[in-house]
């Protein structure tokens, strides 16, 4: 059996993703794990959540339902030792079904949906579980290179409880034909890319309502003492 490779993170500089060239540190990073080992992160109470923060199909309705394929995204947040992480804040954002972001700097010629914003948030429960409803995001072109398209994805900002548990990532959908052409996805070592891809869960589907995807998140830090 092959040993598991825990080196899953992308490099800072990944030239095929052109914006990294002028925006990535060039000098060695200062190791501070010991110095900052006692630093925890802010904790949010339930009152940060409003009624439809975990339902992007409802939290921006103006005159009807958003267009597109309604889905449920659910999963659990763990630390590297497999311990569930409760009360972790997940903030999410995404394009609409046509591949258009609400953001004003977005220039892609695809329609906005008056009933879809694409932003939401959720806290994990005592077992580290979360779930939200949304519309499956569309693919969209971007300016990185000729005919560059991003695979369908949902952005996650994750705020856990230790300094190492602040993560921003993207969740992808299984079998996307754009994976092999996307330098952001490809920046992750090949053996670890599957960690960014949600799993289709027929058994979690809401019959006659929404298909379901499972996306589990493992928050890192190099807690080698746990494993040595």
């Amino acid at each position: 059996m092959e040993p598991v490779n825990f080196d899953v993170q992308p490099p800072h500089l990944y030239p095929p993703y052109k914006s990294t060239i002028l925006r990535s540190p060039t000098r060695p990073l200062l190791p501070v794990r010991e110095l900052l080992k006692d630093l925890s992160l802010p904790v949010f109470g339930e009152s940060v959540l409003q009624q439809f923060d975990n339902d992007l199909t409802k939290n921006a309705r103006v005159n009807g339902e958003p267009i597109g394929e309604r889905i449920k995204v659910a999963g659990r947040v763990f630390d590297e030792a497999g311990r569930p992480q409760p009360n972790v804040l997940l903030e999410i954002w995404q394009a609409n079904a046509a591949g258009r972001y609400v953001h004003r700097r977005e220039v892609h010629d695809a329609p906005l949906d008056p009933n879809f914003l694409g932003g939401g948030r959720v806290l994990t429960d005592r077992e580290g579980r979360y779930s939200f409803y949304t519309i499956k995001p569309g693919a969209y072109p971007w300016g990185n290179h000729h005919n560059a398209w991003r695979p369908n994805h949902i952005h996650f900002s994750v705020l856990g409880h230790q300094l190492a548990h602040r993560l921003v990532t993207q969740m992808y959908f299984p079998g996307d034909p754009l994976f092999e052409f996307d330098p952001i996805y490809q920046s992750v070592p090949a053996h670890a890319r599957e960690l960014l891809v949600a799993r289709f869960r027929m058994d979690w589907t809401d019959p006659e309502f929404a298909l379901a995807y499972e996306f589990n998140i493992v928050l890192g830090g190099h807690h080698q003492s746990l494993f040595e």
Binding site: V4, S19, L36, P42, I184
Partner: protein
Amino acid sequence: MERLRQTPSQTVGPFFAYSLTAQQYGYPYDSIVHHALLGPATPGQHIYITGRVLDGQGAPVPDAVVELWQADAQGQYRTAPINPREDDGRDFTGFGRVGTGTQAGAVFRFETIKPGAVGPGQAPHINVTLFMRGSLHGLRTRLYFEDEAAANAHDELLSAVPPERRATLLARCVAGGGLPGYHLDIHLQGAEETVFFTL
């Protein structure tokens, strides 16, 4: 104990604002973290902090999001849950977030208090995390205050930084703005490249 593989980091991309900083950017969604880390009655020296994120050509980055996390005037980090809809008018959260896309020159501006020293061997400081398009990771650093020279000289983390690079973490005093102000430019590359951390 079975070890799980971490979830890899990915860029925040250019379009975070309508979720992470919606109110600042004027999107129709609320925000739970703001440019102000304090309320009007928060004890301590009220200050503002400005800065920019500069790329490898010295150009200000207009699509970064900057987070601060700091102790209060007594050197205590908040441990009570933040409940923005209940207490933020009065209480110090210690946690702030601003995007660089709404002010001329891609400047970020926070209002906070000058933190107390968290413990012996620690000068007053603020933890800073940056996310931006073109960065596949959150970048962590710290802000120290140039007018705390005596404390800075004995700070454990600053002492671990090569002497010639320590100035990249020092915010300078600026006048104007009604409150004592500090400014820190964060250089992603170049001769003044900021010292970033790894855990």
